[in-house]
């Protein structure tokens, strides 16, 4: 598998945060798709997966592993995370981070439509009116009384508005065996 790698910006710490959040969203997206059940009031659209094929596809675990496999294939995410970074210089970690950033970003963009939840910029004062979508906001600090709440937007939050996961094809019906994240590679001479 060819791993595309050009990084266009230096990697700021908050982007790692984004990666982690997005990664969590991925798993979330899989469950939504697999069980056709959503914790949120607005259902997540699953574009690539029409209902009729859902029954024929193997279990949700396999879908998660396949997606992690994509992050490894395009962005070497598992290689990066499974390594012990303590012995490396920041420059070495940075070079590898470019690979991860570029590749995983491409995968995220292709398969998920990720958007901020709050439209205001971070640091701005926001008001949460009575009846606000509680799932959209996590409150901290002096949480007392009834809404409306007024506070400072510390993190804009992330949501997924569309999931386009790869489908699994040609696997055994029972789907008991999980696919591999990445096969071992052997070059024949």
């Amino acid at each position: 598998m060819i791993t595309p790698i050009v990084a266009f910006s230096s990697l700021a710490p908050q982007e790692w945060g984004m990666l982690a959040v997005a990664f969590a969203s991925v798993a979330y997206g899989c469950f939504v798709w697999g069980k056709s059940k959503s914790a949120k009031p607005e259902p997540v659209k699953s574009a690539a997966l029409p209902p009729q094929s859902a029954a024929a596809t193997p279990n949700t675990d396999a879908a998660v592993v396949t997606f992690v496999g994509l992050l490894q294939e395009k962005g070497r995410l598992i290689d990066f995370l499974m390594d012990d970074v303590t012995g490396y210089s920041d420059a070495q970690v940075g070079a590898a981070a470019r690979v991860v950033h570029q590749g995983c970003q491409a995968v995220m963009r292709e398969h998920l439509t990720i958007e901020p939840i709050a439209q205001e910029s971070e640091g701005a004062t926001v008001t949460l009116p009575a009846g606000y979508a509680t799932g959209d906001f996590r409150l901290s600090g002096n949480v007392t009384g009834e809404p409306p709440y007024e506070g400072t937007l510390v993190h804009q939050g992330w949501k997924v508005s569309q999931v386009r996961l790869p489908r699994l094809v040609g696997l055994d019906e029972d789907g008991e065996t999980l696919p591999h994240i990445a096969p071992a590679q052997v070059e024949l001479s």
């Binding site: 060819i2 790698i5 790869p166």
Partner: protein, 613 residues
């Protein structure tokens, strides 16, 4: 739900293929994302289908790895994304550029020789026609499947199908494309030249506004630089009783040179940089670099403020952090490589070096000279010769002096490389420099990426509905049959071969022609074979025109074969007098027949590639 009649437009590209679909009453064609195998057991929909075929080894992948939802059995091969990425590592099993093999004059496109030069068993190899059939078959099935899943159960019986081909495709390659399409399950297909498709897409995009961007007598250059090939055409803007019309007046030669060459050139810069630092990279890493350079190129061209882009080369093994390499690609090196390497400001007299040593390794005839500017100069020079050969063509265009080349008034760009303003600006500067400093206009509203597939759908709808402007085109080049010379044989001297024009340039769809003045005596039951020539610069020849020295004046690319069945009144061994009957069908397919005038019977010629081997 019954679906309404629709048009399928297929851009069957050298490196990537795309599909659009439009219903007759729809506003615009919509792209169909192509479901394809992107990894073993993994199916995804992508904008384009890489035109790559991977022939896996027995037991290389688990059974079912390449099985598509519309297939009952699991094939041992796959086309598209995974075929391309995995095939880059196992090149012996990768078929790519099949389209260019269709037009290769040296190797029969029906012979099973691909992957070319590969060491896999002969029985596993495929022909260029087979490969094209598999791409088309995949596109057909994937499109119908996607539509079915969206609740539209379509049948191709309701469809008209337009497939684009390079304007440079000879009749043989066009016929083989039709053959592949039929084998792929498309009943009737219309072929459309790619530069024309780009032009139709532009017409559709700008709507009635197109009349404000051009005027009668103008010549528009369609400059199409794709991934693997470059293709040029000239379209004249005509005035018939006050109505603006369009006529394609010239097409270029097949040029295996495109954006992929640029990416590779950039990758070599990076590879050199790494080598200077003492790091050798392997094939796998080089492909990663090519891919990275393609991204970097796009990024540079879309953000004029970037001065350099870091390229990280991942390690082969799992220790990514310790073993990855870094390099930097600067804007300066990218621009100088692409602008000065491929689009330098050369003079109009500076034509590509042909390197016609005849010793070129069998394989694809890649352009020996990577300078696109020179190929463009050659095209415009040849176009003038073509125009001057025919008075009615000449009368279509405004008088433009004689500078030794046909000066275009406007340019329509197509192909991803022209997303970069610096590149289109460079071509504009080049044309202006040939034009004594006077600039040419750039047609506004071009959409370099998906135009060909969209234009195919737009054209299909115009054909069906009869509504909309059509480009007058006809057959792109004239065709000739070689006549045996009656000169006595002399050792060491090959007598010049004469050739008879059987299809004049510009012959239109739905017309036919019987060549008078020359009868052939063919023997019943024996195969007859003729040499077959073409020219893209002899617009003045008519059916029956004799060219005295065909070897020098014309290009030979095929042979014609036919066997006359037994016929009443002609005992075996006797000669039947026949005339050549050229037909261009309503679908635009060229056919040649032998016609026995007395009985009215006729027999079809088959076009065969005259293989060197």
């Amino acid at each position: 739900m019954a679906a309404s009649p629709f048009v399928v437009g297929i851009d069957l590209g050298t490196s990537n293929s795309a599909v659009t679909l439009t219903e007759f009453d729809a506003e615009s064609p919509s792209r169909i994302d192509v479901l394809q195998i992107t990894g073993p057991n993994r199916l995804e929909a992508k904008h384009a289908l890489p035109s790559s075929l991977y022939l896996s080894a027995a037991d290389e992948f688990p059974t079912g790895a390449f099985q598509l939802p519309w297939q009952d059995e699991s094939p041992s091969w796959t086309v598209g994304d995974f075929a391309k990425s995995h095939g880059a590592l196992v090149t012996d099993r990768l078929v790519s550029s099949a389209k260019s093999w269709l037009s290769n004059p040296h190797v029969d496109p029906r012979s099973k020789v691909l992957p070319f030069g590969s060491h896999i068993p002969e029985a596993e190899k495929v022909s260029a026609v087979d490969a094209s059939t598999r791409y088309l078959s995949h596109l057909r099935a994937a499109t119908l499947h996607t539509e079915r899943e969206a609740g539209r159960d379509r049948s191709l019986e309701n469809a008209s199908v337009v497939i684009t081909v390079p304007a440079s495709f000879q009749e043989v390659a066009r016929n083989l494309t039709v053959e592949a399409a039929e084998a792929a399950g498309f009943a009737e297909v219309v072929l459309l030249e790619e530069p024309q498709a780009a032009f139709y897409a532009w017409l559709h995009r700008v709507g009635d506004g197109w009349r404000e961007q051009v005027s009668p007598g103008d010549i528009v250059l369609v400059c199409d630089v794709g991934g693997g090939t470059s293709d040029f055409s000239l379209i004249a803007v005509t005035d018939t009783d006050g109505h603006l019309g369009l006529e394609r007046v010239s097409v270029g030669e097949h040029l295996l040179l495109g954006g992929d060459n640029m990416d590779l050139a950039l990758a070599y810069i990076v590879q050199g940089q790494l080598a200077e630092g003492g790091h050798e990279i392997d094939e796998w890493q080089l492909w990663a670099v090519v891919h990275a350079c393609r991204q970097a190129k796009i990024e540079f061209f879309s953000d004029p403020n970037l001065t350099e882009i870091p390229i990280a080369i991942p390690s082969r093994g799992s220790s990514l952090i310790g073993d990855s390499l870094s390099a930097t690609l600067s804007r300066e090196s990218v621009e100088s490589m692409i602008l000065d390497g491929f689009f330098p400001l050369t003079s109009i007299e500076d034509l590509p070096s042909d390197d016609a040593s005849g010793l070129q390794e069998l394989g694809l005839p890649y352009a020996a000279d990577p300078v696109i500017s020179k190929h463009l100069a050659r095209f415009l020079t040849r176009s003038l010769a073509n125009l001057q050969a025919n008075e009615s063509l000449q009368s279509l265009v405004a008088d433009r002096g004689n500078d030794g080349f046909l000066r275009p008034d406007a340019v329509l760009f197509n192909g991803g490389v022209f997303n970069a303003e610096v590149v289109s600006e460079r071509v504009m500067a080049l044309l202006a420099s040939w034009n004594g400093g006077e600039g040419v206009r750039m047609l506004e509203g071009a959409e370099p990426d998906l135009a060909v597939a969209k234009g195919a759908s737009v054209y299909g709808r115009i054909r069906e509905s009869g509504q909309g402007v059509r480009i007058q085109a006809g057959v792109a080049r004239s065709y000739y049959i070689g006549l045996e010379s009656s000169m006595p044989a002399v050792p060491g001297f090959r007598p010049p071969i004469k050739a008879l024009c059987v299809v004049p340039q510009g012959m239109e769809e739905g017309t036919e022609l019987v060549i008078e003045g020359q009868e052939f005596g063919l023997v019943v039951g024996q195969a007859a074979e003729f040499r077959f020539f073409s020219s893209d610069i002899r617009s003045g020849d008519e059916g029956g025109t004799l060219v005295l020295n065909a070897d020098r004046e014309l290009a030979e690319n095929a042979c014609l074969q036919a066997t006359l069945p037994a016929m009443e009144g002609f005992p075996p061994g006797e000669r039947v007098p026949v005339k050549i009957n050229a037909v261009v069908t309503e679908l635009g397919h060229l056919q040649l027949w032998m016609k026995h005038e007395a009985s009215g019977e006729r027999w079809k010629f088959e076009l065969e590639v005259r293989g060197d081997s």
